[in-house]
């Protein structure tokens, strides 16, 4: 799994490549925590353009980051989600708390 991070204003934008499942969840979580600590960013945007699959441990990591970000008054968004991943997000109710955007620009504009 590849993770690309960049910061724009107080937004941390994460680009992912590969499946977000049990084998990659821990790595993803550590990287995100580290980046949030270092940049001190308030909001978090994750790009799922190249993520074909997310399982429950992946969902756990996303929800965990939501908890952290929201506790500090930040917001979270996911962008460019593939249909099969979107279905998983829908089922888990994630869209009740995390915003879905078409692309990074829209996300930046709205968060």
């Amino acid at each position: 799994m590849q993770i690309v991070c960049k910061k724009k204003e107080n937004h941390l934008i994460i680009g992912l490549k590969g499946e977000l499942d049990m084998s990659t969840a821990d790595e993803f979580k550590n990287k995100l925590e580290e980046q949030l600590d270092v940049t001190g960013a308030k909001n978090l945007i994750i790009n799922f353009a190249e993520v074909p699959f997310v399982d429950s441990s992946g969902l756990g990591v996303i929800l965990g980051r939501y908890k952290r970000v929201s506790e500090h008054g930040g917001k979270m968004g996911v962008v460019e989600v593939k249909p099969q991943v979107k279905r998983i997000f829908e089922l888990s109710g994630i869209f009740r708390i995390i915003n879905l955007f078409d692309d990074e620009a829209t996300a930046l504009a709205h968060l």
Binding site: M22, D26, P52, G73
Partner: protein
């Protein structure tokens, strides 16, 4: 499981009561007698005789009664009481009491009594009527009696004996006036409680005794009808109450018989012994009771050398027995009912106590509600910091104090240009809020150009902002904690009030069902004695029965269960843990429980991710006491062993909470709170809960972040979805239970996401699952579960499969045997 855990044991307790009652047989005898008599009198009182009739007849009989051969205080006492209540009947009363005196053969005192009564009647008008206090009234009456008798006695030679007996009689007048006041109170049914106090019972018992004494002894040839009546009473009580009651009623009747003539212990012995023997034969029918009575009487008469009277005495007994036989069962039952009512006084007390207790519990529950409200309010009042300007002002003051104080520009910035500086500082805080952190270069030119301590400023603002964020975080946590505690308190109050309503279940015969069951069972030739129906919950019934032991024929199982099942149109089973045979008694008490008409057959298949021994999935299948069948499936959202711990914790807590009576939604809320409180550790878990009521086949689903589940029957496959977040994320989760009526043959399939995600390339996972289910031909739950697991494995790649768990449940109609 059901029958083991429910402990009510009504009849067990009754048995114990019997033992303790033996010591207090007299008390209970009074008790029963009091009730029987009270109801009889009440009925009479309301009939055509109404007041005057009953009172005059009572007066007549009571006036006849005398004790120790010559003391007859009852007529006067009764007259005094009746006069107080029914002055308009004074003349009638006076006549009947006077006639009673005369009829008892006391001609000399009869006339004198007439005069006494008239005097009292006249005096009562102006003077006595004003005496409200009963004791004073009684004393006045007794004094009048004493004086009058004294004056009358002057005509005769007044010996000390005479004087003492007149004095004694006057005292008795006082005593019985008091007693009759009490008795009147009961007869008029002014005491609305259906349970008499012991004082009232005693008063009624004494009145009854005196009536018996006062009854004229009609002799038909050699047979004394009064004696016969007494024997009948003993027989009735012996037949209903057994040896203990028989003996104590015997003592009572013997006492009456003895007291009214010259007191001897003989009659008491005779009646008590006969009553005892008669009662021993109670279980063998009425004839046997009669034979027992005769036996006792014969033995004792023979021993006491009264063989001469034996023939007549036996004749009286046989006559009494015949009368008892002639009393239709209906009236016997009436008698029985009142006797039972007396017996169940302790039960009434128990009901009252449990009522009281339940009220107490309700109060407790209210206390918890209040506590919860207080917590919630304090939680709301403290809005998170930052919202108010107070905080910013404080932070700006801190900056001014720490950074600028020693600066040479201090007076320029903070005195001359205060508002400008203030608003600039404010802007800096908005900036740090946006960036999260400030460095020297972030400070705008406008400020930097004037300020000589920009580095210090940036550092302090960043530091204060960090501090503020931390404060904000913890305050929010505290608020959350309060809210959670508030929720918990509410939950506890809920459980307590539930408990209280369970405790207080007023006994009520549901539409005469108990009577109907007794009739039905008796109709089949089984001597059933008592039936009591308890509503447990929903349609769940418990029927407690008391019957003669069948000595191991299992009438309860073979006959009664079928009968009851037919009458109530429900399947019943006998509580197998209680058989009278074990107790060695000739009575047995047992219980029937309504069997839920539906059963559930389950199948489970499970596999862990390749290379992992621990599955993140956990499931529980359990049947609760109230015939609810629950299947719970939880998927921990962490990785590996941690996920397993999450889901296992969730599931065992949920099961425990539901077991102790938390309602489902609230149980889920509670676990959510607990998982949140456990932070900083992150714990998320999905909950897939299905509860099937085995009485109605109604299923309730709670799905928290879980995969869809499927309901398959012959015609179609339904998909149940939810989009609720997993628990452990939000403070307040919306639990949205979905109900669905299942039919026999319906198959419920619950799966974790590992199954649905197995074919990764498929987009419509539910569609895939539906097709898969359509192709499965078996309706055996276990085979079905196995097949689904196998198909899911085939659809995915072996090295890429998540934990998978499948629960399958088929609803069966137990009655029809699916």
């Amino acid at each position: 499981m059901l029958t083991e855990e429910i402990e009510i044991g009504t009849y067990e307790r009754m048995d114990q009561d019997d033992k303790s009652q033996k010591g207090q047989a007299e008390v209970f005898y009074f008790n029963r007698l009091g009730h029987t008599f009270k109801h009889g009198l009440n009925a009479l009182y309301r009939s055509w005789l109404k007041e005057i009739g009953v009172i005059c007849v009572l007066g007549f009989i009571l006036a006849r009664a005398e004790i120790l051969g010559e003391l007859a205080p009852f007529g006067v006492a009764f007259y005094a009481v009746a006069l107080k209540k029914y002055r308009k009947y004074a003349l009638g009363l006076m006549l009947s009491i006077g006639l009673g005196m005369l009829s008892a053969g006391r001609f000399d005192s009869g006339w004198s009594y007439m005069i006494l009564l008239i005097t009292m009647g006249m005096m009562a008008m102006p003077f006595l009527a004003q005496l409200e206090n009963r004791l004073y009234y009684g004393m006045a009456i007794a004094s009048v009696h004493l004086i009058f008798k004294g004056i009358l006695g002057l005509g005769h030679t007044l010996t000390l004996y005479h004087f003492v007996s007149i004095a004694l009689e006057s005292i008795l007048v006082l005593v019985f006036t008091m007693i009759f006041f009490k008795a009147f109170f009961v007869i008029e049914n002014k005491s609305k409680k259906w349970q008499l106090t012991s004082e009232e019972e005693l008063a009624i018992g004494i009145l009854f005794m005196i009536v018996l004494i006062g009854l004229p002894s009609f002799k038909v040839g050699q047979f004394d009808l009064k004696v016969m009546l007494m024997k009948l009473i003993i027989l009735l009580f012996a037949a209903k109450g057994g040896a203990g009651i028989g003996a104590s009623v015997g003592v009572m009747v013997g006492l009456i018989d003895g007291i009214s003539s010259i007191f001897t212990g003989l009659m008491i012995n005779l009646y008590a012994f006969s009553g005892l023997i008669a009662g021993v034969f109670k279980d063998y029918g009425k004839w046997a009771v009669g034979v027992g009575f005769l036996l006792g009487q014969t033995i004792l008469s023979y021993m006491m050398g009264q063989q001469g009277n034996m023939i007549y005495s036996a004749g009286e007994t046989i006559l009494a027995l015949l009368i008892m036989q002639m009393i239709p069962e209906r009236y016997m039952n009436w008698f029985d009912k009142y006797a039972q009512e007396g017996k169940s006084n302790s039960e009434a007390a128990a009901v009252r106590e449990s009522n009281l207790l339940s009220q107490k519990l309700m109060d407790f529950s209210q206390v918890f509600v209040e506590l919860a409200n207080i917590f919630k309010q304090t939680g709301k009042e403290e809005t998170p910091p930052g919202a108010e300007d107070n905080n910013v002002t404080m932070m700006i003051n801190t900056i001014a104090g720490r950074v600028c104080k020693d600066c040479t520009y201090y007076s320029l910035c903070w005195e001359k240009r205060f508002y400008k500086t203030y608003s600039q500082m404010f802007d800096l805080f908005s900036l740090v809020e946006e960036l999260g952190h400030l460095t020297e270069s972030d400070i705008p030119e406008e400020i930097a150009s004037r300020c000589g301590k920009t580095k210090d400023l940036a550092l302090h603002i960043s530091y204060l902002y960090e501090l503020y964020k931390l404060n904000y975080y913890w305050q929010k946590k505290i608020c959350e904690g309060r809210e959670i505690v508030s929720g918990e308190l509410k939950g506890i109050s809920h459980i307590i009030s539930d408990l209280s309503s369970q405790l207080y279940q007023p006994k009520q015969d549901r539409d005469g069902l108990e009577e109907l069951l007794i009739d039905k069972v008796r109709g089949s030739g089984i001597e059933i004695e008592q039936v009591r129906i308890n509503d447990l919950e929903d349609d769940h019934l418990e029927i407690a029965m008391m019957k003669k032991a069948c000595n191991g024929c299992h009438e309860c199982e073979k006959v009664i269960t079928t009968l009851v099942s037919e009458v109530l149109d429900k399947r019943f089973v006998v509580d197998p843990h209680r058989c009278a045979l074990k107790n060695g008694k000739n009575h047995c008490g047992f219980k029937l429980y309504s069997m839920p008409p539906y059963t559930v057959t389950t199948g489970i298949a499970k596999s862990a991710r390749l290379g992992n021994f621990v599955s993140g999935d956990n499931y529980r299948i359990s049947k609760f006491k109230n015939d609810k069948f629950a299947m719970i499936l939880s998927d921990g959202m962490g990785v590996g062993p941690k996920a397993a711990v999450e889901s296992n914790d969730t599931i065992s807590m949920l099961e425990q909470l539901m077991k102790v009576g938390y309602n489902r939604e609230f149980a889920v809320q509670t676990i959510n709170s607990l998982l949140i409180l456990r932070s900083p550790e992150e714990t998320f878990a999905t909950v897939d809960l299905a509860v099937i009521d085995l009485h109605t086949a109604k299923a309730e689903f709670i799905k928290i972040g879980s995969s869809p589940c499927f309901i398959k029957n012959d015609q179609e496959i339904n998909v149940l979805k939810s989009t609720t977040l997993p628990i452990g994320i939000l403070n307040q989760i919306e639990v949205e239970p979905v109900s669905k009526d299942l039919k026999p043959g319906d198959i419920l399939i619950m799966v974790t996401d590992g199954i649905l995600d197995a074919p990764k390339e498929v987009e419509d996972k539910e569609g895939w699952m539906v097709t898969l289910l359509e192709d499965i031909n078996t309706n055996d739950p276990q085979m079905m579960a196995n097949t689904i697991l196998q198909k899911a494995r085939e659809a995915g790649h072996d090295d890429d499969l998540d934990d998978m768990t499948i629960l399958v449940a088929r609803v069966d109609d137990e009655y029809l045997g699916h």
